[in-house]
């Protein structure tokens, strides 16, 4: 199969040529400082994230162009993506919070996916300055120019805090403080089915459970950010240490997709846990043919 051979060559050529550039195989956990703009230090992760984000915005704008009723090809691609994501997230978030939460979720997914995959492009993490000790003339370090946004812990913390803040705003708007407090601390037992003493005892239990719940909510930003950072940074280290071995390269393509999906899915689950238990059961009623079709396509 000539096609397979060409594909294999396409993978191998960048892989083997980049291995020559790669430094000692150790990726620093901290993003390296490139230059200052005024008093603000600019790291390589920041610079990469600006460039990739700008390219992403321009690319989507160029694809969609001027939105039309009969979509152009590019618009159809973007609409397909958005409708597929809607089919996945609508049953989780619930119909009420969906109009506000959905743009955020699409944005998270595409942003994180593109930034994860930007770490797999040729030259990322392998071209840069070498630091030479002036006294001895030995190499002491290597500063890559390009480093993906999600392989810097600061970047993923920013994403996780955005997710947490948006969660709070959406929950306050669509559930309200009363429902949130009831959801956390309130007694969900049925008063008519239980004797009074037991009901009040259960209230105490629910109160204690609520305290645990609050702690678990407060560590959500930490777990979200560390999970994304750990996966992407671990992937970078793996690739550098194995000289960009093709098998791991494909593994990292998969990990980038799965982690973007997981981040978005967890955000939507957090929103849905509080907002999604009214009378709207988006996933049970198959009344809306449009959305069930989108769901089938997404599966």
């Amino acid at each position: 199969m000539p096609l397979v051979r060409i594909l294999a060559l396409l993978v191998f050529i960048p892989a083997s040529s980049l291995a020559a550039f790669a430094s000692e195989g150790r990726v620093s956990a901290k993003a390296e400082l490139l230059f200052h703009i005024g008093p603000v230090p600019v790291t390589n992760a920041m610079a990469t994230s600006w460039v990739v984000t700008l390219l992403l915005i321009l690319f989507v704008r160029w694809l969609v162009g001027k939105p039309q009723i009969i979509p152009s090809r590019g618009q159809a691609v973007v609409e397909g993506l958005v409708e597929g994501l809607r089919g996945i997230f609508e049953p989780i978030v619930g119909l009420r919070a969906m109009p506000v939460a959905f743009p955020l979720l699409v944005c998270f997914f595409v942003f994180i996916l593109m930034h994860n995959w930007s770490g797999l492009l040729p030259l990322v993490g392998t071209v840069g300055w070498t630091e030479i000790d002036t006294a001895t003339g030995h190499h002491v370090g290597f500063i890559p120019w390009i480093r993906p946004h999600t392989s810097d812990l600061n970047g993923t913390i920013a994403l996780a805090l955005t997710s947490f803040g948006a969660w709070f705003v959406i929950v306050m708007k669509y559930a309200g403080p009363r429902l949130l407090l009831y959801e956390l601390f309130g007694n969900k037992a049925d008063k008519n089915e239980l004797p009074g003493v037991m009901y009040w005892g259960l209230s105490l239990v629910f109160l204690l459970v609520g305290v645990i719940e609050v702690v678990s909510i407060l560590i959500r930003p930490i777990t979200l950010s560390v999970r994304l950072f750990g996966n992407v940074f671990g992937g970078e280290t793996l690739l550098h240490n194995t000289s960009f071995f093709p098998v791991f390269y494909f593994l990292e393509i998969l990990v980038g997709l799965v982690q973007a999906f997981v981040f978005t899915l967890l955000t939507s689950v957090y929103i849905g846990l509080v907002c999604n238990h009214g009378d709207d059961h988006g996933d049970e009623s198959h009344g809306d043919p449009d959305h069930s079709d989108a769901k089938e396509a997404a599966i």
Binding site: I88, T223, V226, R227, G230, N231, G234, L265, V269, I299
Partner: protein
């Protein structure tokens, strides 16, 4: 050679749980192929939560 037995145990447990979730997800899809989309969402979520603990320990256990 140096190592950290606590870290090894944490990662071992995380790997085991991810494998277990995958095993049962495949089992469930085998029984009911129509539900593959729903099972995928649930299993990826559970995997992320299990693996998150492993990564937390990888970063914070020193």
């Amino acid at each position: 050679m140096t190592g950290n037995i606590a870290l090894a145990m944490a990662l071992f447990a995380a790997a085991c749980s991810v494998g277990l979730i995958g095993f049962h997800a495949v089992d469930a899809v085998g029984r009911n192929p129509g539900a593959s989309g729903k099972v995928l969402v649930q299993s990826i979520l559970a995997m992320a939560l299990a693996e998150g603990l492993g990564i937390l320990s990888l970063l914070f256990l020193k």
